[in-house]
Symmetry: C2
Subunit: 236 residues, 2 copies
């Protein structure tokens, strides 16, 4: 039974995948050379390559020149996590989006932020606090620092109309991004903004983005209680 009839390399990937699930190939085992597998399936080596690379990308196989292909020992769950801009997140859930700028000032980056920016000196920054609402209900409270060295032109943008989130994404695409996810208790001030009681558990996403080696922004986004982050479904 050939599973699909659409693309040969997906068939092959599924066959090999099945053998791993079957324990035909066990963690740590070495697979035949690509060429032998190509002979077995009667196809070009590059087709096998395509299949094997796919499995390697998913973390199931490890490939080394001369070392051959082996099944990953101690496999892990690899998922991809897509973090949209907050407006899209809200709209894709079928809610109406609204945005409110709470605070806007120019300050030098405190040590903590400078550390996120991997800099020793304190850089001039824009400090923003804002609220993203879904159907009028507070959804995300974010505290953001934007490097005025990297993005000086943001001083001329009216950030009460468009969120810094969106302006940056549209005008200053980043080349790298660090993400951290953790749980925290919200402070009284945060609770007030979010319209919830203090000491509630909330999910926090922190992101720092860069263009080349210059830091663009650091943002700490506090989500409404009960918020669930759902990575894309994944294969072993």
């Amino acid at each position: 039974m050939k599973t699909t009839r659409k693309s040969r390399w997906k068939d092959i990937r599924n066959q090999i995948n099945k053998r791993i699930l079957n324990q035909t190939y066990r963690p740590g085992d070495k697979l035949p050379r690509d060429e032998d597998i190509a002979n077995e399936f009667d196809c070009a080596r590059s087709t096998v390559q395509r299949a094997m690379r796919s499995l390697a990308d998913e973390g199931m196989l490890q490939r080394k020149r001369k070392g051959g292909t082996t099944v990953t020992t101690d496999p892990f769950t690899r998922t991809t996590l897509d973090i949209p801009i907050t407006r899209r997140d809200i709209e894709s859930r079928g809610h109406r989006y609204h945005y409110h700028l709470i605070h806007n000032s120019q300050e030098r980056a405190p040590a903590k932020i400078a550390a996120c920016f991997k800099q020793t000196h304190s850089e001039p920054c824009l400090k923003l606090e804002s609220l993203h609402l879904a159907d009028g209900r507070p959804y995300v409270y974010e505290r953001r620092w934007i490097s005025l060295t990297t993005v000086p032109e943001i001083q001329n943008v009216d950030l009460s109309e468009i969120s810094a989130n969106e302006w940056l994404v549209r005008n200053r695409p980043f080349s790298r991004c660090d993400v951290q996810i953790h749980a925290s208790i919200c402070t009284e001030k945060e609770a007030e903004y979010m319209g919830i009681t203090a000491n509630t558990a909330v999910l926090i996403l922190e992101r720092t983005t860069w263009i080349s080696e210059s830091p663009i922004t650091h943002v700490r986004a506090l989500h409404e209680p009960g918020y669930r982050l759902i990575p894309n479904g994944s294969m072993s």
Copy 2:
């Protein structure tokens, strides 16, 4: 200046990527056909394909037959998240791993778990509670349900010696996995197990794994306060 000299397709990917960052190609814009780009870079079309597919996988481009290649509008941050088994997580942080089985019983799946398994009936399950310790300090408290229909042989395994986590990964690889991440307040019982005060905010990972369409296990892993989940660094 050609950035790398190693692989042509990476050069091309970086060049195209640069043009997106440069705003040469803006969100929503249509790129030239692969063949034209191949002519520009004087290479085979399949080399361009390799580069474009890479960018498409990262979520930066969208490709459609006949529709051509366009720059993603409203870009999002795409990261990959690797979730190792708890023992490896602890050991890779340089701590000594220890495991303690708290509870082990055979019960029918409550409605909530049956829902996670996408089943209407209540399946016979193994219900486990266990603690993973790092240098003797509670690190993860997990509550796990294992389907005895899918994995009957687990009844013969001594789960006080090896964690279900590891036994399953080694003996019952899964083909699919659903993940959810959220923040919660720990209960008094959980706090006692974790050696922390009640009402602390904790990060919770819930996973359901499947082999084909049969559910294997559902696990809810409660992490120590302050735990940070860190996806792999990502490109735009």
